[in-house]
Symmetry: C2
Subunit: 158 residues, 2 copies
DNA sequence: GAAACTAACTGTACGATACAGCTATCCGGG
DNA sequence: CCCGGATAGCTGTATCGTACAGTTAGTTTC
């Protein structure tokens, strides 16, 4: 069965294979797009930095390890990431008043501003890309992606 | 306008913002999933290697630069990637008969086998994750992702 | 209050990628 | 037919994101 890498069996499997293919492709394209867009003006807001700001914005200031757990990243990665972000004035670190070991990370206005700018740019990009899509299709895509992520997330945390 | 990073204006923008959010999230989760799954047995089939095999399988043997163009990667990256894959017996290199500068890369049976195994594992994973989805929703997701990728791709190549 | 635990940081390593520079080959105009 | 510009692939080098292991300082438990 598919030793040659081509056809699958049931219709279900075909659909799953297509989803697998498209997700893999999307990740490649997304990478390429991020590389192509961000590097110029916005620098630094590469990868995790953006997601960290997004998360701080939506979930409020929090400790490094909370961030790491939430983002499925190693603590050391987050430490370095926030160090770089602090250097660039995007976040501020303060000792956690309720735990002497902890460090509370909060976004600075500049960080939020930068995040909003990147977000707006990306939203514009998607608006451009999906220009000829029916609004209903966009809605459906957003909805299904959300469900997919939820499913993936609960799966990951096990 | 969203200097604070929260609400957007029109309904269109809200949807686009959600798509942007979900795509970003998906990329993070996808990375985490790949890291969690692949590293054990299949090694080596990290990242690009899998996509390279997929592409060789579906589009046939081809030159390094054709691969690079198709995958939005630098030629040097692909060179190193296929070197590693050759070392691991996943692909074979042969001089291009029609162009003395070129090197034709083709998958080996072992490479195709490996690819099929990873693909089957991922398909199984998606089947697991999407276990309680209606077949119609899966179809729609596959379809919309495909359209999204097409749109992204034509956009990228400009 | 000592032992076990935990938060953050630091050292080190690896993988994926890009860019610049090199060599070998190709092709089109004089 | 040969010479100069283009192209294919490779190598050197740099960067970024990440992980794992170890360190230090503070916390919790008995």
């Amino acid at each position: 069965m598919s030793e040659d890498g081509t056809a699958e069996g049931t219709a279900e499997e075909v659909t799953l294979g297509r989803i697998e293919t498209e997700v893999a492709l999307l990740m490649r394209l997304g990478e390429a797009t991020r590389r192509a867009t961000g590097t110029a003006e916005h620098r630094v807001l590469d990868r995790a930095a953006y997601v960290i700001l997004r998360h701080l914005d939506s979930a409020g200031p929090q400790n490094v390890s909370a961030l790491a757990a939430r983002l499925n990243l190693d603590g050391s990665t987050v430490t370095r990431q926030v160090s770089a972000m602090q250097r660039d004035g995007l976040i501020a670190r303060a000792p956690d008043p309720s735990d002497g070991r902890g460090t509370v990370v909060s976004p600075t206005p500049a960080g939020l501003h930068r995040m909003a700018a990147v977000r707006a740019a990306r939203t514009r990009l998607y608006g451009d890309i999906l220009a000829d899509w029916a609004p209903a299709d966009r809605d459906t895509l957003a909805h299904l992606l959300h469900r997919l992520n939820e499913a993936l997330e609960t799966r990951t945390r096990r």
